[in-house]
Symmetry: none
């Protein structure tokens, strides 16, 4: 386990997103401890400081709390918080840009709508 990394983005950000997704998907439950910095560093063959940096961001975003001498723990409500934040960001920031681009490129919307409908029916 060592070559997931995308060269364009710093590892610590990718790692942060990875953990975020694990919280979102329930791979790590609220109240649980995150794997220790050292553990992750070894598993992913990454420097402990790099892992530390990822975890610190999650603390700053109030998704994770540090219990001194014990480790990092997923806060209660973290999963919902992530979901809410990401939804909001998509709706308010990403989607409008996407619409603008579609208009800008003068794309045929019927195809796009169809692909969206497919997704909708599978939910």
């Amino acid at each position: 386990m060592s070559f997931n990394w995308n060269d364009k983005e710093p590892i610590y950000l990718q790692l942060k997103d990875l953990v975020k997704n694990m919280i979102l998907s329930g791979d790590i439950n609220e109240g649980d401890a995150l794997p220790s910095v050292r553990q992750v560093a070894m598993d992913y063959k990454v420097n402990p400081i790099t892992v530390s940096k990822s975890y610190q961001i999650l603390v700053d975003e109030e998704l994770v709390e540090k219990r001194r001498g014990l480790g990092m723990f997923v806060r209660i409500g973290a999963s919902e918080k992530v979901q809410t934040n990401e939804n909001e960001q998509f709706i308010k920031e990403d989607w409008p840009k996407i619409l603008t681009k579609i208009q800008h490129l003068n794309l045929d919307t019927t195809q796009l709508i169809n692909s969206l409908k497919e997704i909708g029916s599978n939910q």
Copy 2:
């Protein structure tokens, strides 16, 4: 005019996209000269080397040609080429990612579809 810049992407890429969009939208016509490196550098309060780098990319993408002693000129067919390339990129790369994200976030597709329909009817 100085704070358009997004911190996550290098200025020279943002500048390149800006020019590309001006070509696409007809703000700069095919055959026309691009504003001089110095001019742009002053207008946008950017280092001339940064502007050069942007222009060079456009030359590499064969949208623009350098005429020695005269400046940079938009090639004939550039606009269409941009449009084609961007369309393809959107359909093949961006849109699938967008769909995945929508599914991932479990978003309500009906709203999204409605906003797309609105755009479609205005075209």
Copy 3:
């Protein structure tokens, strides 16, 4: 009772100060036993070793004595001793720093003086 803790200072020091203040205010009388390490650990949801460390400091400061098999007891004269030490520390170390800071921040001293007068008149 679990989140009194200030993240900047180690828990064992905060706990030590807490006990000190209880001695000072008479919540625990001289000659009385301190609550057992286990008890405190449970009450405050803290590791017993952390509590031990706090108590050990109080022993080192000769405010508390250990009676083997019985527990920790507040020494006679402890309250006065705490008061004397803390007074001295405040006057000699804390207050000068406070004055410097007030000057540095260029604060209006009249307000501060008024709040001090209020306290004085209530004593």
Copy 4:
């Protein structure tokens, strides 16, 4: 220049405060560039990453802005902002604690008031 450092607080925090004070006192003017990370690292015989960490905090506090490829610059209004923040923190957080402690220790307020008056008259 190498042994200013207090062992109890991380260097990067001390360095941050040092820069903050330089902004506050006008040693570095608003709009000016901060000394480069490498320069400071050499001057103070500290690792560049440590300096970087300090500077990053100032960016997060919006006192300093990064201009890519150019360096870090003191934002307009930074000095006032620092002053306002520190004043507020003193009045709302530090001073009440000080008052409590004075009351708690049953200190003679007249001396304290006198020392405050002295400061006041020198302003």
